[in-house]
């Protein structure tokens, strides 16, 4: 049993990739480490449970990566997806460190594999975890336990004692052996974002947030983030920004994970509850534009939309968890979707009339496009005319939020007055906003977690020695 009366060198709050990388690296640097995971053991690890890969720079192809992905290319990608809303120094530092993480994470027991079936477009840039994110977590936990890191589950923290930017102690909701006050010489906050906290989301999104589905566990409530910001830590990032994709509206409210996603937008059209199109479905290649559809659907009435396609593309994308809703005619499909049949027929016939001839190729930005239609479909536009007709209902699926704590290159939190905290560090989603002002590219969340987790653990351990 963990002795909570002692003072730990490093307290890690959180239990995902960033937390475990921090715990392992602090322990390897000689510190005594306690990890507080707020979730039960099965749900340990927050969003890491649902991840599958990490984006790391590398100068040459490897056994599992099909080609080089240089630091410069990584930086260019980051610049493009964030529209420049990133801290260049931190971002370049992260990208440089990511090269070493490819090997370091293997030393912690994690195993790589080539890109999964259906994700070939990521085969050059992203390294996939053999067995997925939970397998990765299991490996990190086994390593941490072997190294002597103490771990508590169901360990929800209700308060942090912080004085002048210095962490003193944390209070547990439920005492362990009579002890509920945990003292440590340094804190690593790696407790994720607040995406599962609907009330908090409503502060920025209003009642629309009631219609959001949360892709991860209900435990990502952002309570640690809130405490830190309330106790003088400087915030970073736009609170309305998040990673949000369009997921199946039939998915559970929480923890539906990867399998509720839809890759089929480019094969059809997307309409709202008034059966009207609202965005160019052919703007860019999946997965680069995969992450915009959550926000787009969030902006539609009742936060619902429908991906509509026909029998000719029924098997053009990965099989889905929920089968598509089927109609022998467009009117029948509309009725099943509770849309106005005449409106959907009109939208589709106008779309069909605007489609120009071209050569379809979903792997490139092809020349199949509409003309004289608003909004246009600029690529992969083909007539929807082969019965039966299909649709997937979709809602915004929130993966994680970007509001966070500002940090420096040591992963050390900065206080509102700009001064570095004496002993507080942050890693993972709780500080992702430093690097990701907006937008997303597959696997970057895990890069942020591993890179800043390792740095935070190392620096926290060094902080204790000094």
């Amino acid at each position: 049993m963990v002795d909570l009366s002692r003072k730990f060198d490093v307290l890690v709050i959180g239990g995902g990739n960033a937390a475990l990388c921090a715990a392992i690296s602090a322990r390897r640097a000689g510190a005594s480490v306690l990890v507080l995971e707020g979730a039960p053991k099965f749900y340990r690890g927050g969003n890491t449970r649902h991840t599958r890969n990490m984006r790391c720079a590398h100068d040459a192809a490897t056994e599992i990566l099909t080609g080089p992905y240089t630091e410069q290319e990584f930086w260019d990608d980051l610049l493009r997806i964030t529209g420049g809303q990133t801290d260049e120094e931190l971002a370049r530092f992260m990208i440089a460190e990511s090269k070493d993480i490819l090997d370091w994470i293997v030393e912690q027991g994690v195993r790589w594999q080539p890109s999964l079936g259906g994700t070939l477009s990521l085969g050059r840039t992203n390294s996939f975890f053999l067995g997925g994110g939970r397998a990765m977590l299991n490996a990190l936990y086994l390593t941490a336990e072997k190294l002597g890191v103490e771990i508590l589950y169901d360990a929800e923290v209700t308060d942090l004692q912080i004085e002048d930017g210095m962490f003193l102690s944390a209070r547990l909701k439920q005492a362990v052996n009579g002890a509920s006050e945990i003292r440590a010489s340094a804190l690593v906050a790696a407790a994720g974002g607040f995406e599962a906290n609907i009330e908090w989301l409503k502060e920025y999104w209003g009642e629309a947030a009631d219609n959001f589905l949360i892709r991860g566990t209900p435990y990502n409530r952002g309570s640690i983030l809130k405490m830190l910001l309330a106790r003088g830590v400087q915030d970073v990032g736009d609170p309305t920004q998040c990673h949000a994709v369009a997921i199946d509206a039939r998915a559970p409210k929480f923890d539906g994970g990867i399998i509720t996603r839809h890759d089929s937008v480019v094969f059809g059209i997307v309409v709202n509850k008034h059966a009207q199109r609202f965005y160019d479905e052919g703007e860019d290649i999946w997965p680069k534009r995969y992450a915009i559809w959550g926000r787009l659907v969030a902006a539609q009435p009742d936060q619902i939309a429908y991906i509509v396609f026909d029998a000719s593309v029924r098997h053009s994308f990965m099989p889905t968890l929920f089968p598509p809703i089927e109609g022998a005619t467009i009117a029948e499909l509309a009725t099943k979707l509770t849309l106005d049949p005449a409106a959907l027929e009109k939208t589709i016939s106008e779309f069909n009339a605007a489609v120009r001839p071209g050569t379809f190729d979903h792997t490139i930005l092809d020349d199949c496009r509409t003309e004289g239609l608003s909004p246009p479909k600029t690529h992969w536009a083909r007539r929807i005319e082969t019965a039966p007709y299909y649709a997937y209902p979709v809602r915004p699926g929130i993966t994680f939020t970007y509001l966070g704590t500002r940090v420096n290159r040591e992963a050390r939190m900065l206080m509102k007055d700009g001064k570095p905290s004496a002993n507080m560090f942050a890693a993972g989603e709780i500080m992702a906003g430093n690097v990701l002002g907006k937008g997303y590219a597959a696997g970057i969340g895990m890069t942020i977690g591993s890179v800043f987790g390792r740095v935070a653990g190392r620096e926290a351990a060094r902080n204790v020695r000094n």
């Binding site: 099965f42 594999q113 990965m318 099989p319």
Partner: protein
Amino acid sequence: MHGTRILDEADRLMTVCNSCRYCEGLCAVFPAMEMRRSFSDGDLNYFANLCHACGACYTDCQFSPPHEFNVNVPQTLAIARAESYAAYAWPRAFAGIFARNGLVISLISALSVAVFILGFAAWHDRQILFGVHTGPGAFYKLMPHNAMAALFGAVFLYAIVALIMGVRAFWRDIGEPVGMKADAGSLWQAIRDAGELRYLDGGGVGCFNEDDRPTDRRRLYHHFTFYGFLLCFASTSVATLYHYLLAREAPYAWWDAPVVLGTFGGVGLLIGPIGLLAGKWKRDPVLVDQKQMGMDTAFIVMLFLTSLTGMALLLLRATSAMGPLLALHLGVVFALFLTMPYGKFVHGIYRFTALVRYARERRAVGHV
């Protein structure tokens, strides 16, 4: 919908897994699944027999219980696998043996041993049954060699015919045309995959047993068991050749091939089953089909007893215990062969067949 409740559940799980695919690097089941978008009964039975029950996909799955998606592939495929054994059994009338396997096999074994002992006793007087016999032909004083060969040849032949008929039904069910010859490359690939138990390694770390710490112990003990069995089988085969080709009669000297092969095999067949059984009792029940416990235990114990009685016979063959021990050994071996098509033994046959099918599929889509 499918023929059985468990195939419906397997279909539900494969639909979940096919939209996730995180486990595709762990074993052969998930790559085979990815080659399909929908699943027939035969497809699901194929996956069930391709699964080596390492448990890695359960431990790695973000949707395993208590998650509401309730994804438990190892247990579901274990149940489907057991049901498939019964479905392919030949003749059909014996399919029910799988459901009461522990009971049936223990009864047959007891009966078989009793018949050999009684047979020896009825045939001979006490002096011969409890006498000391040494030198070539000692065993045949108790049972003539031709009688022994005819009896065991017949039961062995029956087992082979029944197994072939089962494999034929399986092969047809999983969508391969009957009579089609497996290509040599796929066959060789399957022999290698089965020989090293490639897919019992959880994707490289070992398989999951009593907790979430993988070990390679099950594979090790299975190797002891399987190769022990093969060596024992080789021992018997060499002895038969000695008898008919070289006119050399058992028992053989300790340095002679049948005894050396049998001793090494016998030791493997003692260590392996003990390890497998101990592991089985400790294994996390969530990973297994508890209803199969009787069948699994019966087969493991039969293998162990085959070796134990054989080793005892070897050690005590120059004493007056030889007669009863020979009856015991022959009784156990007879029961083992007789029940082979209706017990756990078939797992190896169907799994190997599934591996051949998998190797063929992989070739067909360009993996060599």
